[in-house]
Symmetry: C2
Subunit: 335 residues, 2 copies
């Protein structure tokens, strides 16, 4: 026999609402109450029947978060924040790793098969606003820079301002040969273009001429790419005294390449990244970076999506900007 | 009007099968053919209708991978391999981050609402074999050590042998005060117990007495926990000359704490981890570690699941063991 929520409630001597709160992971349940409910759940071998609950509302209780790559730690950390914010709505979050391919992003954007999810939080790399404009149905919130002025709600950070600010920090240390790692020529490079624009603006602010030999491309942004780009810059003899890497994994790779060349950080080359991933708080040296408020990004995205799912589907698309701050550590300040 | 697969095939001048291969992300499609199909997809604004295709077979074409934490890079890297192997089956993989909570794991194990997924690859932290025994329906493959001899197919690595081998490497360097970081007292510590058993076996092999003051607990295995455990060991005055950390993130935290104490790695303290995450190939120093064959784990799990979904649901549960190797780098060998 399959037990129901009220069987658990009776056994635990609490209300159905309280059992529901425990099952849905709400935080504000007294520990003793939670333990009693969990005991009852275990004894009855109760399994929450999300489908029945939600099908009454024409919903699955499941949303998807579609991101390009989970082994870019930024997306893994963002996913954690989305999962926490979604739990407060009683939602299960399934994560779709698209690999940034246009086909997989289309699958995600069309609702993972149309009937599986109530809504989608989506960080596209390859899809365009035109791709998305043809979609109907699944409520969607976009993250990142790929699709600006698109047909859906959008949560972003001001990449130009943030890149300008961290580059200004490097210039403020008296560095004049400031390299950049992570530029991209392809259509996929929306984030790279904005961060490059901020970098160039800061150079202009500081009266430093732009030297394109100091700008190293990286079509993907893993550690290996940052290390390779740094080695290329050193081999080219352009002698940077600082480098702004367009994300933290690039910067961690650059730190490694500088170490292999016996160059000191920050004395010989100051290094800054972007994302504030956990790795950079423990690297040797620790990494100066731009810290987007990932908790806020996750929360804003979930709130926008909840609004759309609850009904205001015809309101015009909104764009919300999450704050960021600089986290200045050993890789630019020294010990 | 909503276009269908055969409209795309006609426009691109290829077979429906070829369009299907492109849409499902198969690798073996000629680049020129792929480009023609993608062009046709874009012009028709075609969206793959996975649900229609699969509903005919009573399937969604979607499987879930349930893991405790995506910001443990091991799970993010494993997820990438599962996604690749699943794409060859034409499956979309949705990832469920359970946080290791028993309730969220129950939701996952019961099929994310019973009707959403065709199967589940599951790395539980809190669920027991008893929890799982009561489940019917969703085909499932278990990863890791939590539920041994459980009711489902199981892919694992030999944790005792691997931990014994990496600890023997430390002893082989002539180290005699070998610490361990990551022991756990709780029920959740199945992996920790096995790695501790391997560590103890290697000490016995090397004729080194077991000193529990050299074993530092860590209830979670993030960098901060490794750094804190290492600081505790140093503060306790037990003077380790080597440390085996039960995963790589703990080891990266330990490296940081040793750096802050101006201790040299490996000259003063040799450091080894477990998982072979990308971070350890670029850290300063690079990290010696146990490298489980994550690609093989992902592939075995998908193959077992495919067998169950295709029909052999009543065969007895199988346990497959994936290989591992040692990756010895600067943190034990020096430069």
């Amino acid at each position: 026999m399959r037990h129901r929520l009220k069987d658990v409630a009776e056994k635990a001597g609490v209300s159905v609402k309280t059992v529901s709160n425990v099952v849905n992971g709400y935080q504000h349940v007294r520990p003793t109450t939670r333990a009693r409910v969990e005991q009852a759940i275990a004894e009855l071998n109760y399994r929450p029947n999300l489908s029945a609950r939600n099908l009454r509302k024409g919903r699955t209780g499941v949303i998807a978060l579609a991101v390009p790559e989970l082994d870019i730690p930024y997306f893994a950390e963002l996913a954690r924040h989305v999962v926490v914010a979604a739990a407060e709505q009683g939602w299960t979050v399934l994560i779709d790793q698209t690999g940034g391919s246009r086909e997989q992003e289309r699958v995600a954007a069309s609702g993972i098969g149309d009937h599986l999810i109530d809504g989608l939080i989506f960080s596209p790399l390859a899809l365009t606003a035109e791709d998305l404009a043809g979609l109907d149905g699944t409520p969607m919130v976009l993250l990142g820079e790929r699709v600006d002025h698109g047909p859906a709600d959008h949560v972003m950070v001001d990449n130009v301002a943030a890149a300008r600010e961290i580059t200004a920090h490097l210039a403020g240390l008296g560095r004049h040969r400031i390299a950049a790692i992570g530029s991209q020529r392809t259509e996929e490079g929306a984030t790279a273009r904005l961060r490059l624009a901020g970098y160039r603006a800061a150079l202009a602010d500081a009266g430093i001429g732009y030297d394109e030999r100091l700008v190293a491309p990286a079509s993907v942004w893993h550690r290996a790419d940052g290390a390779a780009a740094m080695r290329d810059l050193l081999a080219a003899g352009v002698r940077p005294d600082a480098v702004f890497c367009f994300n933290d994994t690039l910067a961690l790779g650059a730190l490694r390449a500088l170490h292999e060349h016996a160059l000191r950080v920050p004395e010989d080359v100051a290094v800054a990244g972007f994302d504030d991933i956990e790795d950079g708080r423990f690297s040797i040296p620790t990494l100066s970076t731009v810290a987007p408020d990932k908790e806020r990004i996750g929360r804003l995205a979930v709130e926008l999506l909840a609004g759309r799912i609850a009904g205001d589907r015809d309101a015009p698309p909104r764009t919300l900007t999450a704050p960021y701050r600089l986290e200045l550590r050993e890789s630019t300040l020294g010990r």
